[in-house]
């Protein structure tokens, strides 16, 4: 493999990793605070992509208006779901929460079919990002370059929000001891609602940003949710930088797998995850579970 080819593949792997990170970080945030594995996260991603299609392509609005619409749309959907239904389930078993999110998957998949039908759609690259940048020995597409900037930016923003603000301190406290936090006068249900909303909006943004790269078809949610699981499990459930690492590992394995082991690139991430879990059962940066 020449240097040019290697750079190009590494770059595409990185871009894929960053797009996946944006989606997976939302799933990870929700799990870290609410302890809910949200199977509907892939569905939120799909809705994000479809919303950007409707806003940017059908209505002709600028692409980034579509991205904002996707974020806002998913935030509203998530808030309604959390306030109406999910908040009644925090005290129940994990199994009930899993089933609840699976029910969301089923209901939303039919809703998507009713709204958008079953045709395949595509969204073009936004104007100004459709070109390429020539580095001399390699030519890199602008949109992927843009993803490589947005991904780390979101990671840093989330880190600042959770690790450096008062609200972030409350969120971290909520992961440790909910009752104590409530006793201190914090409105814990609102914290939960906010976390679920932000996490879901990230899925919407991730889907919107993925739309120019992928085909929009029913079922695009089912593979993405598995890939997000792989990423957060590799990194360690609930750990932000773990998800970042997991996304990087995932992106490179898939991209180089396509080159070196074509046909098996879809299986390789699972192999990667199994290897990680056998060596470190709680993920690269995760900590061993303590009781409940």
């Amino acid at each position: 493999m020449t240097l040019t080819m290697f750079t190009l593949n590494a770059f595409y792997g990185l871009a894929l990793a960053m797009n996946m990170f944006i989606i997976a970080s939302g799933l990870n945030l929700i799990f870290g605070v609410l302890r809910v594995i949200n199977f509907a996260h892939g569905m939120f991603y799909m809705f994000g992509a479809y919303i950007v299609f409707t806003v940017a392509k059908t209505w002709g609005a600028p692409f980034f208006v579509g991205v904002l619409a996707a974020a806002a749309g998913l935030a509203i959907i998530a808030l309604v779901i959390e306030r109406l239904l999910l908040r009644h389930l925090y005290d129940k078993e994990h199994l009930m929460q899993l089933l609840f999110t699976f029910a969301l998957v089923l209901l939303m998949s039919d809703a998507a079919k009713m709204i958008w039908g079953t045709d395949q759609y595509s969204v073009g690259y936004p104007p100004g990002l459709g070109g390429a940048v020539n580095l001399g020995f390699v030519v890199l597409p602008q949109y992927q370059l843009f993803l490589c900037v947005v991904g780390p930016a979101i990671a840093i923003a989330m880190w600042l929000l959770v690790d450096r603000t008062r609200w972030g301190r409350i969120v971290r406290a909520a992961t440790q001891d909910r009752e104590m936090l409530a006793a201190l006068g914090v409105n814990v249900p609102m914290v939960y609602a906010a976390v679920f909303t932000i996490g879901s909006a990230l899925a919407g943004v991730g889907g919107a940003l993925a739309a120019p790269r992928v085909a929009l078809v029913p079922g695009m949610d089912a593979t993405i949710i598995n890939e997000c699981f792989i990423i957060v499990i590799i990194g360690g459930l609930g750990n932000l930088w773990g998800s970042f690492l997991g996304a990087l590992a995932f992106g490179f394995v898939v991209q180089f797998g396509t080159v070196w082991a074509p046909n098996w690139q879809d299986v390789l991430p699972y192999v990667l995850m199994l290897v990680v879990l056998i060596i470190r059962p709680w993920g690269l940066l995760g900590r061993p579970e303590t009781g409940h």
Binding site: M96, L106, L237
Partner: protein
């Protein structure tokens, strides 16, 4: 233990089912065959969920392994059924034992995620190993032995296999081993204190569940004359999980009713509307929000209410 009553009741049910072909309806026979297969699949999963308290989200893997192995051995390698079926079941059990070895190191949500991961690996292999499994075209045209190639013959074959499988699972779940599993479900720390090797027991339960799941898969593949990668996908694992929960996990017979109810409902719904996922989603919401102990729990609650009523009057 009212063992005798149960035995008589099961014998009557099996006998009644055996009389079904006399009614002569091809549709009824096929539908019952499908339900029987799902009953065994759901019962096998409940060994893990109901008795051991471990939620597997990847049970379709063993169903698919049993199904594919039996199909491939019969068709590609031309083995007789008497060898292919046991080999497929043993293979499913062995894979479950290997996977279980890693999974039982974790508990709760981590356990569930790891079972899901292994199942998706199985799906990936079925998808990509085109030369052997047929890839996303599925493995079709399974060579069936003459004796059970007719739908009535296959119905009796399934009835016998599922009855034997269910009986074996009943014995396992009510043996000392099964009671140990319940102890682990109720309080695994205490079970450990009294000297139970909880990891070992959960491992054994995992292998048992995989073995019988494999048998169900083998029956399923032969019934449909083919196996498809969808049978290994995580949605299939979710489906059987819903069957178990709908019936009720805290009783042995619960999953039987859950499997029958869900499969019949799906079949009938599909005749009227393409929106089965919506119906299933609504059913799930009902289970989650108002029926956490399933149909069996509902029946028990209704009985209980009537009982107290009688007592008072």
């Amino acid at each position: 233990m009212p063992q005798r009553r149960h035995l008589v009741a099961s014998a009557i049910v099996v006998l009644l089912l055996a009389l079904l072909p006399l009614a002569g309806s091809r549709y009824a026979i096929d539908l019952t065959t499908e339900v029987l297969i799902y009953v065994l699949f759901a019962l096998s999963l409940n060994v893990l969920i109901g008795f051991t308290g471990n939620i597997s989200f990847g049970h379709a893997a063993y169903f698919a392994i049993g199904g594919y192995a039996c199909a491939i051995l019969l068709t590609t390698h031309g083995w007789p059924l008497a060898l292919a079926l046991p080999a497929a079941v043993v293979l499913a059990g062995l894979v479950a034992a290997v996977v279980g070895y890693f999974c039982v190191r974790l508990t709760q949500i981590y356990f569930a995620m790891l079972t899901l991961a292994f199942a998706m690996l199985v799906w990936g292999v079925a998808f990509k190993w085109k030369a052997v499994t047929g890839g996303d075209d599925g493995f079709t045209g399974i060579k069936m032995p003459e004796m059970i190639s007719h739908h009535v013959g296959y119905f009796y074959f399934t009835l016998v296999m599922v009855s034997v499988g269910a009986a074996a699972l009943w014995v396992i779940c009510h043996s000392a081993f099964g009671l140990t599993l319940v102890a682990i479900r109720e309080n695994s720390v205490r079970a450990g204190f009294i000297g139970v090797d909880t990891k070992h027991m959960r491992w054994a339960a995992f292998a048992v569940a995989g073995t019988f799941g494999g048998l169900a898969g083998a029956l399923f593949g032969m019934y449909h004359r083919g196996m498809y990668i969808e049978n290994a996908f995580w949605t299939e694992s979710a489906n059987v999980l819903i069957m178990v929960l709908l019936g009720g996990i805290y009783s042995f017979v619960g999953p039987i009713f859950g499997a029958a109810a869900l499969h019949l409902l799906q079949t009938f719904t599909n005749q009227y509307t393409p929106y089965w996922p919506t119906v299933l989603g609504l059913i799930l919401l009902v289970i989650v929000l108002v029926l956490p102990d399933g149909l069996i729990g509902l029946v028990a609650r209704l009985k209980g209410r009537r009982g107290t009523h009688k007592g008072r009057s």
